[in-house]
């Protein structure tokens, strides 16, 4: 005989949800409601809490000053400080002038340095063609300057200025003799035509010892002034071939050694010369005066 028992375990608990629980569960399963509650509500609470905190102006000030302090303390760490400036490639007086005019008080944090603006400032100096700035290790602000080299002296109506080969002003000088090595140009608008002037001076080769300078006339053409008050009036267009022609004439016929005041090449295919008037009786005082005006 086999004995079998019927275990009477408690039936599985399967309680019915109340109507409210059922509806709430269904509501919770609604996607929009769920998204609102899970994302929208926390986001709202966070934003609201932050807004509530910052509604008080004292707290706003406290927070901003704290943030400012943190920022300053990081910026002013010795690793980030620039303590010295080294200028390279500039002559001593230019370097001194730059130092004096750079609007930066060293030492300064490298975060506070606007290198781009500083570069613009430096390149604003007439004597500076270009400037490169680097902050190097050890807190060194390294400035590499390429200076403009003066090519001409320009006597304008008001001052005596040095120009580079592009006609850009380099510096002013007090008197012509300070840079006697440079050729002289004069006249209004002469600085606009510096390359042409340089070409003419180069072409003047054999006449070079006699050249006093170039005069811009009417801001459009050049006069080559030689000693003995001789002038070569050059045309507006293509002055260099005209000058070469004069030089050729001089070579062939010794033109400029004669008593001629002007060689007029304004019409290039028809050179014209003006003869000097018969010489007045010699007046040594006037002669010295003239020598003083034309250095």
């Amino acid at each position: 005989m086999r004995q079998m028992t019927l275990q009477t375990a408690m039936p599985r608990r399967d309680p019915a949800p109340s109507r409210a629980a059922y509806r709430l569960h269904r509501l919770w399963l609604t996607p929009l409601f769920r998204a609102t509650l899970r994302v929208g509500l926390p986001a709202f609470v966070i934003v609201f809490a932050i807004g509530l905190y910052f509604a008080n102006p004292e707290r706003r000030v406290a927070i901003s000053s704290w943030a400012g302090n943190v920022r300053t303390s990081i910026e002013e760490r010795p690793e980030f400080m620039v303590t010295a400036m080294k200028i390279e490639g500039a002559s001593a007086e230019v370097a001194n002038a730059l130092r004096a005019m750079v609007p930066v008080q060293l030492p300064v944090s490298s975060f506070g340095l606007d290198l781009r603006a500083l570069q613009t400032t430096l390149e604003g100096f007439d004597a500076v063609a270009s400037a490169e700035l680097q902050i190097r290790t050890g807190g060194l602000l390294h400035v590499t300057i390429r200076q403009r080299t003066p090519a001409l002296v320009w006597r304008s109506r008001t001052s005596l200025e040095l120009l580079d080969d592009n006609g850009h002003r380099v510096a002013s000088i007090a008197e012509r003799s300070a840079r006697a090595d440079l050729p002289l140009i004069a006249g209004d608008g002469a600085d606009k035509a510096v390359p042409e002037a340089l070409a003419l001076l180069a072409a003047a080769g054999p006449l070079a010892p006699r050249v006093r300078g170039l005069v811009r006339t009417g801001a459009r053409r050049w006069d080559l002034v030689l000693d003995h008050d001789q002038r070569i009036l050059l045309p507006e267009m293509n002055p260099v071939p005209a000058l070469e022609r004069v030089i050729a004439l001089d070579k062939a016929q010794d033109l400029l050694a004669r008593a001629i005041v002007h060689v007029d090449m304004r019409i290039p295919h028809r050179p014209t010369v003006r003869l000097a008037p018969p010489p007045p009786p010699a007046d040594p005082e006037a002669l010295t005066e003239a020598k003083a005006t034309i250095p």
Binding site: M1, R2, Q3, M4, T5, L6, T8, P11, D14, P15, A16, P17, R19, A21, Y22, R23, H25, R26, L29, T30, P31
Partner: protein
């Protein structure tokens, strides 16, 4: 008829809306358990491109994503008996299924077993207006079916056109576009008690759900348990539930008869409870663990302690032999099967070409039932289990879930019913715009 049309069409629209949303719940309101499945529809059917896979009739277009069962309370004989209790049970099942699916369902398709279903075979014929059968002609022939007096308080649950005949040709599935002079149709009409449907409707409405379809449990378990050739050649599905035993007869893939016997597994349980003087819960367990219908010599020697909590030693130490238990179960099962036999005879089941009988439902799991049923119902009896559908949990694949699974198939691919066809133009009100359009179509 128009009211019915509108109610059923509203349900069909609800079903379409549910399909668009992609989630629909299946609710099997049974006497012993309430099962809820949540289906997710993933758009059109992805037919497997494998040899030997025929048309799947929508079976691969959905997936079960939630399943829950709860002990039924308040349902007797497959009908709602206590509204509040049933509502709670439905809530429990729906909530658990929703929780598993993690999705909210708003539309539910329900089935029930009871409500005294009654089958009618209707026939109607019309002369065709022009030689070609159109949708309108189908509607007209359906409307021409002579509807018998259904009786007071009866409502149509299913009205499925079963067969169309065009002149002398019969057995047409879809006559549209064919040539002929006279169109006839046979229709199977299933009516149930109105109050039962209304109770169910009310109950589901109380749960904040909307009814997207309703079906007879006998019909849907036939869909899921009968294999294709059985449905084609003629078979009866007997769904032995807790409180009612449904039976449905299929031929040519259409249900032609459905009925229910108001007896089931709960009667067996109550017999055990009465006979052995023990609580119903214990009796149910006793039936499930040691039950059977064929006693052998071994069963006389198997003694079962049935116990009890009365405090009386004599009573609490009782034992019964398994043969005694079988002696209680068997007469009741025989009675149910004989009642089923009577219904089948009344329906003329013996005239079908194939007389396959498939037993399914929770009560069909009694060991030895197929042997007993073969003696009463005929030789061709087998035990049926529902079709496998995607995502169905292992716990819900048993015979007890035949109607739930069938309802899934019904939801995915419902059969065309009367209300799925066009409304015949004659039935519209006189000033209908449709009628004016029809006049335009015919005359211009």
């Amino acid at each position: 008829m128009t009211d019915l049309y509108q109610a059923q069409r509203a349900m069909r629209n609800m079903r379409k809306a549910a399909m668009q949303r992609g989630v629909v719940a299946i609710l099997d309101v049974g006497s012993s358990k309430i099962a809820c499945l949540v289906l997710r529809f993933d758009g059109p059917e992805r037919a497997a491109e494998v040899d030997g896979v025929g048309p799947m009739a929508g079976q691969s277009s959905f997936r079960v994503i939630g399943a829950a069962t709860t002990r039924s309370r308040g349902v007797r004989f497959g009908e709602i008996d206590a509204m509040q209790e049933t509502e709670r049970a439905v809530r429990t099942a729906v909530q658990a299924a929703q929780k598993m699916a993690n999705v909210r369902v708003d539309h539910v398709i329900a089935c029930f077993a009871g409500a005294r279903p009654r089958s009618y075979g209707l026939a109607g014929d019309v002369d065709l207006q022009d030689q070609v059968v159109t949708g309108q002609d189908v509607a007209r022939v359906l409307a021409a079916c002579e509807v018998p007096d259904l009786g007071a308080g009866r409502d149509v649950l299913h009205a499925q056109p079963v067969n169309f005949a065009l002149d002398h040709r019969t057995g047409l599935g879809d006559p549209r576009g064919q040539m002929g002079n006279r169109l006839a149709c046979d229709m199977h009409l299933l009516t149930v008690d109105t109050t039962v449907i209304q109770n169910l409707l009310y109950c589901i409405k109380r749960c904040d759900l909307e009814l997207a379809g309703i079906a007879s449990s006998a019909y849907v378990s036939g869909i899921s348990s009968l294999v294709e050739d059985e449905q084609e050649l003629g078979a009866a599905c007997i769904d032995m539930g807790g409180g009612a035993t449904g039976l449905s007869i299929f031929i040519k893939k259409h249900m032609i008869y459905a009925d229910s016997v108001r007896m089931g597994g709960e009667q067996v349980t109550s017999d055990i409870s009465k006979g052995l003087q023990m609580p119903l819960g214990d009796a149910e367990k006793l039936k499930a663990r040691f039950g059977g219908v064929v006693a052998t010599g071994m069963d006389d020697r198997e003694m079962i302690e049935i116990g009890g909590q009365s405090g009386d030693w004599e009573k609490d130490r009782r034992t019964v032999s398994r043969a005694e238990l079988i002696g209680i179960i068997r007469p009741r099962v025989e009675e149910i099967l004989e009642e089923v036999r009577a219904r089948l005879d009344a329906a003329g089941f013996e005239h079908l070409p194939s007389q396959q009988i498939v037993l399914t439902g929770g009560a069909s799991q009694i060991p030895g039932l197929d042997g007993l049923a073969a003696k009463i119902l005929g030789q061709r009896v087998r035990l049926g289990r529902p079709l496998r559908v995607q995502g169905l949990p292992q716990a819900a694949t048993g015979a007890a879930f035949a109607s739930a699974v069938g309802l899934c198939l019904f939801a995915a691919h419902p059969q065309d019913e009367w209300w799925d066809f066009e409304i015949p133009a004659e039935r519209y009100p006189a000033r209908s715009i449709r009628r004016a359009l029809k006049w335009f179509k015919e005359n211009w």
